[in-house]
Protein backbone atom coordinates (compact mmCIF):
# COMPACT_ATOMS: atom_id res chain seq x y z
CA UNK A 1 0.00 0.00 0.00
CA UNK A 2 1.27 3.46 -0.95
CA UNK A 3 2.37 5.58 1.98
CA UNK A 4 0.99 9.08 2.08
CA UNK A 5 2.71 10.12 5.29
CA UNK A 6 5.80 8.50 6.79
CA UNK A 7 7.29 9.62 10.08
CA UNK A 8 10.54 8.16 11.42
CA UNK A 9 12.22 8.98 14.71
CA UNK A 10 10.75 12.46 14.69
CA UNK A 11 11.86 14.60 17.58
CA UNK A 12 11.08 18.23 18.15
CA UNK A 13 11.75 20.84 20.77
CA UNK A 14 11.09 24.58 20.74
CA UNK A 15 14.73 25.46 21.15
CA UNK A 16 14.93 24.87 24.88
CA UNK A 17 16.23 21.30 24.68
CA UNK A 18 13.06 19.84 26.22
CA UNK A 19 11.51 17.57 23.58
CA UNK A 20 7.78 18.04 23.16
CA UNK A 21 7.44 15.41 20.45
CA UNK A 22 9.31 12.14 20.03
CA UNK A 23 7.63 9.69 17.70
CA UNK A 24 9.39 6.51 16.60
CA UNK A 25 7.33 5.66 13.58
CA UNK A 26 4.01 6.62 12.11
CA UNK A 27 2.80 5.69 8.66
CA UNK A 28 -0.44 6.74 7.02
CA UNK A 29 -1.59 5.06 3.84
CA UNK A 30 -3.12 6.95 0.93
CA UNK A 31 -6.84 7.40 1.42
CA UNK A 32 -6.64 6.36 5.05
CA UNK A 33 -8.63 8.42 7.51
CA UNK A 34 -6.90 8.86 10.80
CA UNK A 35 -8.32 10.12 14.06
CA UNK A 36 -5.67 11.67 16.29
CA UNK A 37 -6.63 12.20 19.89
CA UNK A 38 -4.97 12.91 23.17
CA UNK A 39 -5.10 15.27 26.12
CA UNK A 40 -3.90 18.86 25.96
CA UNK A 41 -0.15 19.20 25.80
CA UNK A 42 0.40 15.80 24.21
CA UNK A 43 1.94 17.39 21.15
CA UNK A 44 -0.98 17.57 18.75
CA UNK A 45 -0.26 21.11 17.58
CA UNK A 46 3.43 20.32 17.20
CA UNK A 47 2.65 17.22 15.15
CA UNK A 48 0.37 19.26 12.87
CA UNK A 49 3.01 21.98 12.55
CA UNK A 50 5.56 19.39 11.47
CA UNK A 51 3.20 17.59 9.10
CA UNK A 52 2.21 20.79 7.37
CA UNK A 53 5.78 22.04 7.15
CA UNK A 54 5.15 25.13 9.28
CA UNK A 55 7.75 23.92 11.77
CA UNK A 56 11.12 22.79 10.46
CA UNK A 57 11.45 19.02 11.00
CA UNK A 58 14.52 18.24 13.01
CA UNK A 59 15.85 15.68 13.66
CA UNK A 60 14.12 12.69 12.11
CA UNK A 61 12.07 12.43 8.99
CA UNK A 62 8.66 13.56 7.83
CA UNK A 63 7.96 12.29 4.35
CA UNK A 64 4.78 13.30 2.56
CA UNK A 65 3.99 11.78 -0.83
CA UNK A 66 7.55 10.50 -0.75
CA UNK A 67 8.94 14.03 -0.28
CA UNK A 68 11.20 14.57 2.72
CA UNK A 69 10.03 17.94 4.08
CA UNK A 70 13.45 18.60 5.65
CA UNK A 71 14.93 18.81 2.16
CA UNK A 72 12.65 21.68 1.21
CA UNK A 73 13.40 25.32 1.86
CA UNK A 74 10.77 27.21 3.92
CA UNK A 75 8.97 28.77 0.98
CA UNK A 76 9.04 25.41 -0.83
CA UNK A 77 7.45 23.79 2.20
CA UNK A 78 4.77 26.51 2.12
CA UNK A 79 4.13 25.87 -1.56
CA UNK A 80 4.10 22.11 -0.94
CA UNK A 81 1.49 22.55 1.78
CA UNK A 82 -0.56 24.79 -0.47
CA UNK A 83 -0.46 22.26 -3.27
CA UNK A 84 -1.07 19.00 -1.38
CA UNK A 85 -2.90 19.81 1.84
CA UNK A 86 -6.16 21.31 2.89
CA UNK A 87 -6.46 22.68 6.39
CA UNK A 88 -9.52 23.28 8.54
CA UNK A 89 -9.10 25.33 11.71
CA UNK A 90 -11.12 24.99 14.86
CA UNK A 91 -12.76 28.34 14.09
CA UNK A 92 -12.35 31.57 12.14
CA UNK A 93 -11.56 29.76 8.92
CA UNK A 94 -12.87 32.35 6.51
CA UNK A 95 -11.74 35.69 5.19
CA UNK A 96 -14.55 38.04 6.16
CA UNK A 97 -14.19 40.22 3.09
CA UNK A 98 -14.70 37.43 0.58
CA UNK A 99 -17.96 35.76 -0.39
CA UNK A 100 -18.53 32.07 0.30
CA UNK A 101 -17.64 31.16 -3.29
CA UNK A 102 -14.49 33.29 -3.19
CA UNK A 103 -13.43 31.71 0.08
CA UNK A 104 -13.89 28.23 -1.35
CA UNK A 105 -11.86 28.99 -4.48
CA UNK A 106 -9.09 30.79 -2.59
CA UNK A 107 -6.56 27.89 -2.80
CA UNK A 108 -6.55 28.25 -6.60
CA UNK A 109 -5.30 31.81 -6.21
CA UNK A 110 -2.39 30.84 -4.00
CA UNK A 111 -1.27 27.50 -5.44
CA UNK A 112 -0.70 26.91 -9.17
CA UNK A 113 -1.19 23.13 -8.70
CA UNK A 114 -4.55 23.60 -7.03
CA UNK A 115 -5.45 26.13 -9.76
CA UNK A 116 -4.84 23.50 -12.44
CA UNK A 117 -6.45 20.63 -10.58
CA UNK A 118 -9.58 22.67 -9.95
CA UNK A 119 -10.07 23.06 -13.69
CA UNK A 120 -7.57 25.71 -14.72
CA UNK A 121 -10.01 28.53 -15.38
CA UNK A 122 -12.15 30.91 -13.39
CA UNK A 123 -15.27 29.41 -14.97
CA UNK A 124 -14.21 25.87 -14.03
CA UNK A 125 -13.37 27.07 -10.52
CA UNK A 126 -16.82 28.54 -10.11
CA UNK A 127 -18.43 25.25 -11.15
CA UNK A 128 -16.08 23.27 -8.94
CA UNK A 129 -16.85 25.48 -5.95
CA UNK A 130 -20.58 25.13 -6.57
CA UNK A 131 -20.21 21.37 -6.88
CA UNK A 132 -18.28 21.07 -3.62
CA UNK A 133 -20.68 23.40 -1.87
CA UNK A 134 -23.57 21.24 -3.08
CA UNK A 135 -21.96 18.11 -1.69
CA UNK A 136 -21.34 19.81 1.65
CA UNK A 137 -24.89 21.10 1.82
CA UNK A 138 -24.07 24.78 1.48
CA UNK A 139 -25.02 25.18 -2.19
CA UNK A 140 -27.54 28.00 -1.63
CA UNK A 141 -25.05 30.07 0.38
CA UNK A 142 -22.47 30.63 -2.35
CA UNK A 143 -22.95 34.35 -2.86
CA UNK A 144 -23.63 35.18 0.77
CA UNK A 145 -21.14 37.21 2.81
CA UNK A 146 -19.45 34.81 5.20
CA UNK A 147 -20.34 36.96 8.19
CA UNK A 148 -24.00 36.01 7.74
CA UNK A 149 -23.32 32.27 8.10
CA UNK A 150 -23.87 30.15 11.18
CA UNK A 151 -20.85 28.54 12.75
CA UNK A 152 -21.71 25.11 11.32
CA UNK A 153 -22.10 26.60 7.87
CA UNK A 154 -18.75 28.36 8.20
CA UNK A 155 -17.06 25.07 9.03
CA UNK A 156 -18.54 23.50 5.92
CA UNK A 157 -17.28 26.35 3.81
CA UNK A 158 -13.88 25.81 5.41
CA UNK A 159 -14.04 22.12 4.51
CA UNK A 160 -15.03 22.96 0.95
CA UNK A 161 -12.05 25.30 0.69
CA UNK A 162 -9.69 22.71 2.16
CA UNK A 163 -10.88 20.17 -0.43
CA UNK A 164 -10.91 22.60 -3.36
CA UNK A 165 -8.51 21.48 -6.07
CA UNK A 166 -8.31 17.93 -4.65
CA UNK A 167 -5.36 18.04 -2.26
CA UNK A 168 -4.10 14.57 -1.26
CA UNK A 169 -4.30 15.32 2.44
CA UNK A 170 -6.95 17.03 4.54
CA UNK A 171 -5.80 18.21 7.95
CA UNK A 172 -8.50 19.10 10.46
CA UNK A 173 -7.59 20.72 13.77
CA UNK A 174 -10.57 20.18 16.07
CA UNK A 175 -13.07 21.50 13.50
CA UNK A 176 -16.10 20.21 15.39
CA UNK A 177 -15.22 21.16 18.93
CA UNK A 178 -17.44 24.23 18.82
CA UNK A 179 -20.39 22.42 17.25
CA UNK A 180 -23.25 20.77 19.07
CA UNK A 181 -23.69 17.02 18.57
CA UNK A 182 -26.32 17.33 15.87
CA UNK A 183 -24.26 19.73 13.77
CA UNK A 184 -21.08 17.83 14.52
CA UNK A 185 -22.59 14.63 13.16
CA UNK A 186 -23.99 16.33 10.08
CA UNK A 187 -20.64 17.94 9.43
CA UNK A 188 -18.84 14.61 9.79
CA UNK A 189 -21.39 12.89 7.54
CA UNK A 190 -20.72 15.16 4.62
CA UNK A 191 -16.98 15.32 5.29
CA UNK A 192 -16.70 11.52 5.30
CA UNK A 193 -18.71 11.20 2.15
CA UNK A 194 -16.74 13.76 0.19
CA UNK A 195 -13.33 12.50 1.31
CA UNK A 196 -14.29 8.91 0.51
CA UNK A 197 -15.39 10.00 -2.94
CA UNK A 198 -12.18 11.91 -3.54
CA UNK A 199 -9.92 9.36 -1.88
CA UNK A 200 -8.49 12.06 0.38
CA UNK A 201 -6.21 11.09 3.22
CA UNK A 202 -7.59 12.65 6.41
CA UNK A 203 -5.75 13.62 9.58
CA UNK A 204 -8.47 14.62 12.02
CA UNK A 205 -7.35 15.91 15.39
CA UNK A 206 -9.89 16.03 18.19
CA UNK A 207 -10.26 15.33 21.86
CA UNK A 208 -13.83 14.15 21.23
CA UNK A 209 -13.30 10.35 21.34
CA UNK A 210 -17.00 9.83 20.70
CA UNK A 211 -16.41 10.26 16.97
CA UNK A 212 -13.33 8.05 16.75
CA UNK A 213 -15.31 5.07 15.47
CA UNK A 214 -16.11 6.90 12.25
CA UNK A 215 -12.46 6.82 11.20
CA UNK A 216 -10.32 4.02 9.80
CA UNK A 217 -7.78 4.22 12.57
CA UNK A 218 -7.28 6.06 15.82
CA UNK A 219 -3.89 7.23 16.99
CA UNK A 220 -3.55 8.12 20.62
CA UNK A 221 -0.77 10.62 20.42
CA UNK A 222 -0.12 10.45 24.14
CA UNK A 223 0.68 6.78 23.61
CA UNK A 224 3.16 7.11 20.78
CA UNK A 225 4.76 10.41 21.86
CA UNK A 226 7.70 9.26 23.99
CA UNK A 227 8.44 12.83 25.03
CA UNK A 228 4.95 13.20 26.52
CA UNK A 229 5.19 9.85 28.29
CA UNK A 230 8.54 10.86 29.75
CA UNK A 231 7.27 14.23 30.94
CA UNK A 232 4.26 12.76 32.70
CA UNK A 233 6.20 9.79 34.06
CA UNK A 234 3.65 7.51 32.39
CA UNK A 235 5.99 4.78 31.09
Amino acid sequence: MKHMIEIENLRFDYGDGTPVLDVGSLDVAAGERIFVCGPSGCGKSTLLGLLTGILPSSPGTVRILGQDLALLRPHQRDAFRGAHMGYVFQSFNLLPYLSVAENIALPAGLSPERYERAGGSTQAHREKAAQLAGKLGIGPLLERPVTSLSFGQQQRVAAARALFGNPEILVCDEPTSALDHLHRDRFLDVLMEVTRECGTTVIFVSHDVGIARRFDRTIELAGINRAFRASTGDD
Partner: protein, 416 residues
Protein backbone atom coordinates in the same frame (compact mmCIF):
# COMPACT_ATOMS: atom_id res chain seq x y z
CA UNK B 1 0.14 38.16 -7.60
CA UNK B 2 -3.26 38.90 -9.07
CA UNK B 3 -4.86 37.12 -6.13
CA UNK B 4 -2.79 39.11 -3.66
CA UNK B 5 -3.76 42.42 -5.17
CA UNK B 6 -7.41 41.46 -5.28
CA UNK B 7 -7.20 40.28 -1.65
CA UNK B 8 -5.53 43.54 -0.64
CA UNK B 9 -8.22 45.49 -2.46
CA UNK B 10 -11.08 43.55 -0.88
CA UNK B 11 -9.50 43.78 2.53
CA UNK B 12 -9.29 47.56 2.13
CA UNK B 13 -12.91 47.71 1.00
CA UNK B 14 -13.85 45.71 4.05
CA UNK B 15 -12.27 48.40 6.22
CA UNK B 16 -13.51 51.20 4.03
CA UNK B 17 -14.20 53.84 6.68
CA UNK B 18 -10.69 53.64 8.11
CA UNK B 19 -9.28 53.37 4.62
CA UNK B 20 -11.10 56.44 3.33
CA UNK B 21 -10.14 58.46 6.41
CA UNK B 22 -6.52 57.43 6.02
CA UNK B 23 -6.56 58.27 2.32
CA UNK B 24 -7.95 61.71 3.06
CA UNK B 25 -5.50 62.32 5.90
CA UNK B 26 -2.59 61.59 3.59
CA UNK B 27 -4.20 63.25 0.58
CA UNK B 28 -4.86 66.45 2.51
CA UNK B 29 -1.32 66.65 3.80
CA UNK B 30 0.10 65.99 0.34
CA UNK B 31 -2.13 68.62 -1.17
CA UNK B 32 -1.00 71.08 1.50
CA UNK B 33 2.54 70.65 0.27
CA UNK B 34 1.44 71.01 -3.35
CA UNK B 35 -0.58 74.16 -2.64
CA UNK B 36 2.25 75.65 -0.58
CA UNK B 37 4.59 74.90 -3.45
CA UNK B 38 2.22 76.57 -5.91
CA UNK B 39 1.83 79.62 -3.67
CA UNK B 40 5.57 79.78 -3.22
CA UNK B 41 6.11 79.58 -6.95
CA UNK B 42 3.33 82.12 -7.50
CA UNK B 43 4.93 84.45 -4.97
CA UNK B 44 8.33 84.00 -6.56
CA UNK B 45 6.95 84.57 -10.04
CA UNK B 46 5.02 87.57 -8.82
CA UNK B 47 8.10 88.94 -7.11
CA UNK B 48 10.59 88.34 -9.86
CA UNK B 49 7.94 89.23 -12.44
CA UNK B 50 7.24 92.60 -10.84
CA UNK B 51 9.06 94.24 -13.71
CA UNK B 52 9.79 92.58 -17.01
CA UNK B 53 10.94 93.68 -20.44
CA UNK B 54 12.74 96.53 -18.70
CA UNK B 55 16.42 96.00 -19.37
CA UNK B 56 17.89 98.57 -17.02
CA UNK B 57 16.82 100.75 -14.14
CA UNK B 58 18.89 103.90 -13.73
CA UNK B 59 18.96 106.12 -10.66
CA UNK B 60 21.24 108.20 -8.52
CA UNK B 61 24.35 106.39 -7.27
CA UNK B 62 23.52 103.67 -4.73
CA UNK B 63 23.41 99.87 -4.77
CA UNK B 64 21.32 98.00 -7.36
CA UNK B 65 19.22 96.36 -4.62
CA UNK B 66 18.46 99.71 -2.97
CA UNK B 67 17.67 101.21 -6.34
CA UNK B 68 15.21 98.38 -7.08
CA UNK B 69 13.68 98.58 -3.61
CA UNK B 70 12.79 102.24 -3.75
CA UNK B 71 12.12 102.65 -7.46
CA UNK B 72 10.02 99.51 -8.02
CA UNK B 73 8.86 98.32 -4.61
CA UNK B 74 8.61 101.84 -3.21
CA UNK B 75 10.32 100.75 -0.02
CA UNK B 76 12.58 103.40 1.47
CA UNK B 77 13.54 106.60 -0.25
CA UNK B 78 16.23 107.69 -2.63
CA UNK B 79 18.99 109.83 -1.20
CA UNK B 80 19.43 111.71 -4.41
CA UNK B 81 17.56 112.28 -7.60
CA UNK B 82 18.49 112.24 -11.22
CA UNK B 83 18.27 115.44 -13.18
CA UNK B 84 15.75 115.52 -16.00
CA UNK B 85 18.61 116.48 -18.32
CA UNK B 86 20.35 113.19 -17.68
CA UNK B 87 17.14 111.35 -18.42
CA UNK B 88 16.68 113.34 -21.63
CA UNK B 89 20.22 112.41 -22.59
CA UNK B 90 19.73 108.68 -22.23
CA UNK B 91 16.25 108.81 -23.66
CA UNK B 92 17.82 109.89 -26.93
CA UNK B 93 20.66 107.36 -26.69
CA UNK B 94 20.83 105.25 -29.88
CA UNK B 95 20.63 101.98 -27.93
CA UNK B 96 17.49 103.02 -26.07
CA UNK B 97 14.07 102.15 -27.39
CA UNK B 98 11.95 103.62 -24.62
CA UNK B 99 12.16 104.95 -21.07
CA UNK B 100 9.77 105.32 -18.16
CA UNK B 101 10.62 108.16 -15.77
CA UNK B 102 9.48 107.86 -12.15
CA UNK B 103 9.58 110.50 -9.46
CA UNK B 104 8.56 109.43 -5.98
CA UNK B 105 8.23 111.15 -2.66
CA UNK B 106 4.63 112.19 -2.31
CA UNK B 107 1.90 110.05 -0.87
CA UNK B 108 -1.79 109.88 -0.26
CA UNK B 109 -2.97 108.41 3.03
CA UNK B 110 0.08 106.16 3.17
CA UNK B 111 -0.06 105.10 -0.46
CA UNK B 112 2.92 106.22 -2.55
CA UNK B 113 2.45 108.58 -5.46
CA UNK B 114 4.34 107.84 -8.66
CA UNK B 115 4.87 110.78 -10.95
CA UNK B 116 5.50 109.50 -14.44
CA UNK B 117 4.42 110.01 -18.02
CA UNK B 118 2.29 108.10 -20.53
CA UNK B 119 5.15 105.72 -21.25
CA UNK B 120 4.40 104.02 -17.91
CA UNK B 121 1.05 102.88 -19.27
CA UNK B 122 2.55 102.11 -22.65
CA UNK B 123 5.77 100.26 -21.83
CA UNK B 124 5.65 98.97 -18.26
CA UNK B 125 5.31 95.18 -18.26
CA UNK B 126 5.02 92.71 -15.40
CA UNK B 127 4.96 88.92 -15.30
CA UNK B 128 6.53 88.64 -18.75
CA UNK B 129 4.14 90.55 -21.01
CA UNK B 130 1.33 92.06 -19.02
CA UNK B 131 0.76 95.78 -19.08
CA UNK B 132 -1.53 97.95 -16.96
CA UNK B 133 -5.21 97.64 -17.72
CA UNK B 134 -7.87 100.09 -16.69
CA UNK B 135 -10.98 98.94 -14.90
CA UNK B 136 -12.41 102.34 -15.66
CA UNK B 137 -11.17 105.63 -17.06
CA UNK B 138 -7.73 106.02 -18.60
CA UNK B 139 -4.29 107.63 -18.41
CA UNK B 140 -3.99 111.00 -16.68
CA UNK B 141 -4.64 113.60 -19.34
CA UNK B 142 -4.33 116.83 -17.37
CA UNK B 143 -2.01 117.71 -14.46
CA UNK B 144 -4.99 117.40 -12.11
CA UNK B 145 -5.63 113.77 -13.06
CA UNK B 146 -4.61 110.85 -10.91
CA UNK B 147 -4.78 107.15 -11.76
CA UNK B 148 -5.11 104.81 -8.80
CA UNK B 149 -4.05 101.19 -8.31
CA UNK B 150 -6.55 98.44 -7.49
CA UNK B 151 -5.70 98.27 -3.77
CA UNK B 152 -5.96 102.02 -3.38
CA UNK B 153 -9.35 101.98 -5.07
CA UNK B 154 -10.59 99.12 -2.92
CA UNK B 155 -9.27 100.34 0.42
CA UNK B 156 -10.18 103.98 0.02
CA UNK B 157 -13.34 103.37 -1.96
CA UNK B 158 -12.33 105.80 -4.70
CA UNK B 159 -13.83 105.87 -8.14
CA UNK B 160 -13.61 108.12 -11.18
CA UNK B 161 -14.02 111.73 -10.08
CA UNK B 162 -13.05 111.22 -6.42
CA UNK B 163 -11.01 114.09 -5.04
CA UNK B 164 -7.50 113.26 -3.85
CA UNK B 165 -5.20 115.46 -1.82
CA UNK B 166 -1.55 114.51 -1.91
CA UNK B 167 0.84 114.86 0.98
CA UNK B 168 4.50 115.49 0.97
CA UNK B 169 6.55 112.51 2.17
CA UNK B 170 5.32 109.08 3.08
CA UNK B 171 3.76 109.67 6.51
CA UNK B 172 0.13 108.64 6.78
CA UNK B 173 -0.79 111.82 8.62
CA UNK B 174 1.40 114.34 6.95
CA UNK B 175 1.42 117.91 8.15
CA UNK B 176 2.50 119.12 4.80
CA UNK B 177 -0.28 118.55 2.34
CA UNK B 178 -0.79 119.93 -1.08
CA UNK B 179 -4.34 120.74 -0.12
CA UNK B 180 -4.47 123.74 -2.33
CA UNK B 181 -4.09 121.46 -5.36
CA UNK B 182 -6.64 118.68 -5.23
CA UNK B 183 -6.45 115.92 -7.86
CA UNK B 184 -9.28 114.02 -9.45
CA UNK B 185 -9.27 110.27 -10.13
CA UNK B 186 -9.23 109.80 -13.90
CA UNK B 187 -8.58 106.08 -14.06
CA UNK B 188 -8.61 102.91 -11.93
CA UNK B 189 -6.21 100.08 -12.71
CA UNK B 190 -7.10 96.40 -12.48
CA UNK B 191 -5.10 94.29 -9.98
CA UNK B 192 -1.62 93.43 -11.21
CA UNK B 193 -0.14 91.77 -8.14
CA UNK B 194 2.67 94.34 -8.23
CA UNK B 195 3.46 97.13 -5.74
CA UNK B 196 1.73 99.45 -8.19
CA UNK B 197 -1.62 98.16 -6.92
CA UNK B 198 -0.85 100.40 -3.93
CA UNK B 199 0.22 103.41 -5.98
CA UNK B 200 -1.31 106.58 -7.34
CA UNK B 201 -0.04 107.89 -10.66
CA UNK B 202 0.19 111.53 -11.60
CA UNK B 203 1.91 113.30 -14.44
CA UNK B 204 5.51 114.44 -13.99
CA UNK B 205 4.47 118.00 -14.70
CA UNK B 206 1.90 117.81 -11.91
CA UNK B 207 4.56 116.91 -9.40
CA UNK B 208 6.83 119.63 -10.69
CA UNK B 209 4.18 122.28 -10.32
CA UNK B 210 3.20 121.01 -6.84
CA UNK B 211 6.70 121.41 -5.62
CA UNK B 212 7.61 124.44 -7.63
CA UNK B 213 5.13 126.49 -5.68
CA UNK B 214 5.64 125.16 -2.20
CA UNK B 215 9.29 124.30 -2.68
CA UNK B 216 10.28 126.98 -0.26
CA UNK B 217 7.82 125.84 2.38
CA UNK B 218 9.92 122.82 3.30
CA UNK B 219 13.48 122.00 2.66
CA UNK B 220 13.78 118.29 3.16
CA UNK B 221 14.68 116.83 -0.18
CA UNK B 222 13.15 113.45 -0.38
CA UNK B 223 12.90 114.30 -3.98
CA UNK B 224 15.16 116.97 -5.17
CA UNK B 225 13.47 119.65 -7.13
CA UNK B 226 15.09 121.06 -10.07
CA UNK B 227 12.06 123.17 -10.72
CA UNK B 228 14.16 126.28 -10.72
CA UNK B 229 16.24 125.04 -13.64
CA UNK B 230 13.63 122.99 -15.47
CA UNK B 231 10.25 124.41 -14.75
CA UNK B 232 8.19 121.58 -16.26
CA UNK B 233 9.96 118.50 -14.85
CA UNK B 234 10.85 117.45 -11.31
CA UNK B 235 13.98 115.54 -10.35
CA UNK B 236 13.56 111.83 -11.06
CA UNK B 237 13.95 108.97 -8.64
CA UNK B 238 14.80 106.61 -11.46
CA UNK B 239 14.05 105.83 -15.05
CA UNK B 240 13.38 102.42 -16.55
CA UNK B 241 15.03 101.66 -19.86
CA UNK B 242 14.01 99.33 -22.65
CA UNK B 243 16.86 98.79 -25.08
CA UNK B 244 16.50 98.23 -28.80
CA UNK B 245 18.49 95.00 -28.52
CA UNK B 246 18.87 93.08 -25.30
CA UNK B 247 22.55 92.63 -25.96
CA UNK B 248 23.03 96.38 -25.61
CA UNK B 249 21.99 96.32 -21.96
CA UNK B 250 25.40 95.49 -20.48
CA UNK B 251 27.23 98.09 -22.53
CA UNK B 252 24.62 100.68 -21.67
CA UNK B 253 24.83 99.75 -18.01
CA UNK B 254 28.55 100.44 -18.05
CA UNK B 255 27.98 103.71 -19.85
CA UNK B 256 25.43 104.85 -17.26
CA UNK B 257 27.58 103.81 -14.33
CA UNK B 258 30.51 105.81 -15.69
CA UNK B 259 28.46 108.80 -16.81
CA UNK B 260 30.30 111.96 -15.86
CA UNK B 261 27.30 114.29 -15.72
CA UNK B 262 26.29 112.99 -12.27
CA UNK B 263 26.94 109.78 -10.30
CA UNK B 264 24.48 107.10 -11.45
CA UNK B 265 23.73 103.46 -10.85
CA UNK B 266 22.11 101.13 -13.38
CA UNK B 267 20.61 97.84 -12.22
CA UNK B 268 19.69 94.80 -14.30
CA UNK B 269 16.18 94.12 -12.91
CA UNK B 270 16.08 90.35 -13.53
CA UNK B 271 19.39 89.72 -11.85
CA UNK B 272 18.71 92.06 -8.95
CA UNK B 273 15.26 90.59 -8.32
CA UNK B 274 16.72 87.08 -8.27
CA UNK B 275 19.27 88.25 -5.69
CA UNK B 276 16.57 89.87 -3.60
CA UNK B 277 14.39 86.76 -3.72
CA UNK B 278 17.28 84.54 -2.72
CA UNK B 279 17.68 86.76 0.33
CA UNK B 280 14.01 86.36 1.24
CA UNK B 281 13.68 82.67 0.46
CA UNK B 282 14.37 81.39 3.96
CA UNK B 283 10.68 82.14 4.56
CA UNK B 284 9.51 79.72 1.91
CA UNK B 285 12.00 77.18 3.23
CA UNK B 286 10.16 77.31 6.55
CA UNK B 287 6.83 77.00 4.77
CA UNK B 288 8.02 73.94 2.91
CA UNK B 289 9.41 72.38 6.06
CA UNK B 290 6.04 72.73 7.76
CA UNK B 291 4.33 71.10 4.78
CA UNK B 292 6.80 68.21 4.82
CA UNK B 293 6.15 67.69 8.53
CA UNK B 294 2.43 67.62 7.84
CA UNK B 295 3.00 64.92 5.22
CA UNK B 296 5.01 62.85 7.64
CA UNK B 297 2.14 63.08 10.12
CA UNK B 298 -0.27 62.03 7.35
CA UNK B 299 1.85 59.04 6.41
CA UNK B 300 2.26 58.10 10.06
CA UNK B 301 -1.52 57.93 10.27
CA UNK B 302 -1.37 55.27 7.57
CA UNK B 303 1.28 53.35 9.48
CA UNK B 304 -0.82 53.57 12.63
CA UNK B 305 -3.91 52.37 10.74
CA UNK B 306 -1.90 49.45 9.33
CA UNK B 307 -0.48 48.61 12.74
CA UNK B 308 -3.93 48.68 14.30
CA UNK B 309 -5.24 46.33 11.66
CA UNK B 310 -2.38 43.88 12.08
CA UNK B 311 -3.57 42.29 15.30
CA UNK B 312 -7.10 41.72 14.11
CA UNK B 313 -5.67 40.35 10.89
CA UNK B 314 -3.43 37.73 12.47
CA UNK B 315 -6.00 35.05 11.83
CA UNK B 316 -6.25 36.21 8.23
CA UNK B 317 -2.50 35.65 8.01
CA UNK B 318 -2.84 32.16 9.50
CA UNK B 319 -5.49 31.28 6.94
CA UNK B 320 -3.28 32.45 4.10
CA UNK B 321 -0.35 30.55 5.60
CA UNK B 322 -2.43 27.39 5.70
CA UNK B 323 -3.22 27.90 2.05
CA UNK B 324 0.47 27.90 1.20
CA UNK B 325 1.37 31.57 1.50
CA UNK B 326 4.93 32.28 2.54
CA UNK B 327 5.35 35.17 5.01
CA UNK B 328 6.89 37.17 2.17
CA UNK B 329 3.61 36.79 0.29
CA UNK B 330 1.88 38.42 3.23
CA UNK B 331 4.36 41.31 3.13
CA UNK B 332 3.66 41.75 -0.56
CA UNK B 333 -0.03 41.91 0.18
CA UNK B 334 0.40 44.57 2.86
CA UNK B 335 2.66 46.59 0.60
CA UNK B 336 0.13 46.31 -2.21
CA UNK B 337 -2.43 47.65 0.23
CA UNK B 338 -0.22 50.59 1.17
CA UNK B 339 0.50 51.26 -2.49
CA UNK B 340 -3.24 51.46 -3.13
CA UNK B 341 -3.81 53.76 -0.16
CA UNK B 342 -0.92 56.09 -1.02
CA UNK B 343 -1.83 55.95 -4.70
CA UNK B 344 -5.39 56.97 -3.91
CA UNK B 345 -4.03 59.66 -1.58
CA UNK B 346 -1.94 61.04 -4.43
CA UNK B 347 -5.05 61.28 -6.61
CA UNK B 348 -6.99 62.91 -3.78
CA UNK B 349 -4.17 65.38 -3.22
CA UNK B 350 -4.10 66.35 -6.90
CA UNK B 351 -7.86 66.76 -6.94
CA UNK B 352 -7.78 68.89 -3.78
CA UNK B 353 -4.90 70.96 -5.09
CA UNK B 354 -6.69 71.75 -8.32
CA UNK B 355 -9.95 72.40 -6.51
CA UNK B 356 -8.11 74.84 -4.23
CA UNK B 357 -6.32 76.57 -7.08
CA UNK B 358 -9.51 76.83 -9.11
CA UNK B 359 -11.63 78.24 -6.30
CA UNK B 360 -9.07 80.37 -4.49
CA UNK B 361 -6.90 81.78 -7.26
CA UNK B 362 -9.23 84.76 -7.76
CA UNK B 363 -9.29 85.73 -4.09
CA UNK B 364 -5.57 85.10 -3.62
CA UNK B 365 -4.79 87.15 -6.72
CA UNK B 366 -6.89 90.09 -5.55
CA UNK B 367 -5.91 90.03 -1.89
CA UNK B 368 -2.29 89.00 -1.96
CA UNK B 369 -1.29 89.73 -5.52
CA UNK B 370 -0.18 86.13 -5.97
CA UNK B 371 -1.02 84.71 -9.36
CA UNK B 372 -2.05 81.01 -9.17
CA UNK B 373 -2.42 79.67 -12.68
CA UNK B 374 -4.28 76.40 -13.32
CA UNK B 375 -1.53 74.48 -15.01
CA UNK B 376 -0.60 70.82 -15.40
CA UNK B 377 1.65 69.45 -12.62
CA UNK B 378 5.18 70.67 -13.15
CA UNK B 379 8.15 68.34 -13.23
CA UNK B 380 9.04 69.39 -9.70
CA UNK B 381 5.50 68.63 -8.53
CA UNK B 382 5.47 65.22 -10.22
CA UNK B 383 8.79 64.51 -8.55
CA UNK B 384 7.39 65.58 -5.18
CA UNK B 385 4.36 63.36 -5.63
CA UNK B 386 6.61 60.47 -6.61
CA UNK B 387 8.78 60.95 -3.55
CA UNK B 388 5.71 61.15 -1.30
CA UNK B 389 4.42 57.89 -2.81
CA UNK B 390 7.72 56.12 -2.25
CA UNK B 391 7.99 57.47 1.29
CA UNK B 392 4.53 56.07 1.97
CA UNK B 393 5.61 52.63 0.76
CA UNK B 394 8.83 52.84 2.74
CA UNK B 395 6.96 53.69 5.92
CA UNK B 396 4.49 50.87 5.28
CA UNK B 397 7.43 48.48 5.27
CA UNK B 398 7.62 48.85 9.05
CA UNK B 399 4.23 47.28 9.83
CA UNK B 400 4.76 44.82 6.97
CA UNK B 401 7.93 43.62 8.67
CA UNK B 402 6.00 43.20 11.88
CA UNK B 403 3.37 41.18 10.02
CA UNK B 404 6.12 38.98 8.60
CA UNK B 405 7.40 38.23 12.09
CA UNK B 406 3.88 37.54 13.34
CA UNK B 407 3.25 35.19 10.44
CA UNK B 408 6.46 33.29 11.16
CA UNK B 409 5.77 32.98 14.86
CA UNK B 410 2.05 32.25 14.60
CA UNK B 411 2.22 29.72 11.80
CA UNK B 412 -1.19 28.08 11.76
CA UNK B 413 -2.13 29.25 15.22
CA UNK B 414 -5.16 31.49 14.97
CA UNK B 415 -4.83 34.42 17.31
CA UNK B 416 -7.60 36.89 17.78
Amino acid sequence: MKTLISLAWKSLLNRRTTTILTIFAIGLSMSLLLVVERLRRGAEEGFTGVISQTDLIAGARSGPVQLMLYSVFQIGTAANSVSPATWEHFKKHPAVSWTIPVALGDSHRGFPVVATNDDMFLHYRYRKDRGFEFVSGGKPASPQDVVIGATVARELGYRIGSEVILAHGMARESFVTHSDKPFRVSGVLSPSGTPYDRSLFIKLEAMASLHHQDDHGHDDHEHADHGSEESTLPGLTAFFIGTKARTDALGLQREIQTWTGEPLTAALPGLTLAQLWAGLSYADGVLRLVAVLVIIVGLLSMVVALYNSLNERRREMAILRALGAHPSTIITMLLAESAMVTGAAVLVSLALTYATVLTASGVIGDRFGIHLPVTAPSLAESLMVGIMFLTGLLMAAVPARRAYRNALVDGLTIRI
